[in-house]
């Protein structure tokens, strides 16, 4: 493990810099995918908050606390029936308002494919913390497709993915936290990979927010030279990251295989 001490020391330093959250986050996709992202955002929200979703002149605000959707707070251009939902606490997953709210959100989310998420404290007294629908029952009520295993446990998915590469990878390095946990490939190439990783991470962490536009899920980067040259795939999950050396001809396929494990 001595070969990796430089990389591990570098990671310990850089992770402190990377831990500051981005100020905003962007989501994109079809209305159904955007709705799934809204539910994911609810699932990540513990404190009482008003989550805002904005696209151009259109905006939606929902009250969320304790991973529960509590109410629609405000939204652009609501028709009369939908306007009745504003400020109305949603009792539970059986509340008819929940289905109406889904229709309202899908309708608004269909007006654009790129939305910015914001978060602010709930105004006024807010809602009681036990009011609302938890994210799990909410996903079922709104018929959100179950997340893939990779979305549920990306760290384990990454370890499994690396094991599946076999001869398609020249070498790979798996890092958990600040420690090199596993590796594969010829010893000299793995040692070289560790040194190169330490150099790469300096530039990566300083630009990470720009590269991924605030997206907090599993992320990846590919770099390749000429078609007959070398290529690298870098993947980062919650607490893990990996470097995979391969050739330029295969790297796009390897990257797609990883994406298949983690897309929403």
């Amino acid at each position: 493990m001595d070969d990796f001490s430089r990389l591990e020391a570098k990671l310990a330093k850089l992770r402190q810099r990377a831990s500051a959250p981005g100020e905003s986050r962007t989501i994109r996709g079809t209305p159904e995918r955007l709705l799934a992202a809204v539910v994911s955002q609810i699932d990540e929200t513990i404190l009482p908050r008003e989550l805002g979703f904005t696209q151009g002149d259109t905006s939606i605000f929902i009250a969320v606390a304790n991973r529960r959707l509590q109410a629609l707070v405000a939204a652009s251009a609501l028709r009369d029936a939908a306007a009745g939902l504003v400020g109305k606490a949603i009792a539970d997953a059986e509340d008819p308002a929940l289905g109406q709210l889904r229709d309202v959100l899908i309708g608004l989310l269909a007006t654009g494919d790129v939305w910015t998420i914001s978060s602010r404290r709930q105004s006024g007294d807010g809602f009681p913390s036990d009011i609302g629908v938890p994210s799990g029952p909410l996903a079922r009520a709104w018929q959100i497709a179950a997340s893939g295993a990779g979305r549920e446990n990306p760290d384990a998915e990454l370890a499994d993915y690396l094991k599946s590469l076999g001869a398609r990878a020249t070498a790979w390095l798996l890092i958990e936290g600040e420690e090199v946990k596993d590796q594969s490939g010829p010893e000299d190439i793995v040692a070289g990979l560790s040194n190169k990783a330490a150099l790469f991470l300096d530039g990566y962490f300083s630009k990470k927010d720009m590269l991924f536009q605030g997206e907090t899920g599993p992320s990846g980067l590919v770099f390749s030279g000429d078609i007959d040259g070398a290529a690298v795939l870098f993947v980062e999950c919650e607490t893990s990251m990996a470097f995979v050396m391969t050739n330029a001809a295969d790297v796009a396929t390897l990257a797609r295989d990883w994406q298949a494990r983690v897309v929403l």
Binding site: G29, G217, P218, V222, A231, A252, A255, R256
Partner: protein, 125 residues
Amino acid sequence: MDVTEVLDGLRADVEGCDLAAFADLNTSMILCVSSSTRHAQEELDALTETAAAVLDGGVAEGARTFLDGAKAQTAITMTPVDVRVYLRASQSQSEALICLCAPDADLAKVVARGTATLSTIMSKA
């Protein structure tokens, strides 16, 4: 066939490609864009900024260590919500192609078709 039509052809061929843009890395400017939906100027600016970072900037410099010192011809950023493919015309040229695609897009096809598209555009320059 003008550049816009070439980019339109790329998007038509590659399923899940929402945007294809021809850009100049030196000036960080989009020179021509083909898109299924309207994208705000700030988003286009962010794309060119990222293209410059991954093909020419600090991130690209770090990546050169993996490529035996060569500049990356291709860079890809991936998240669960989209993938972005950045292709450089050549080691000595500053023009690049940017593709914004669905997260499950066929990346090998995007790279192959994008490289051919960039060659076509550069041959007309």
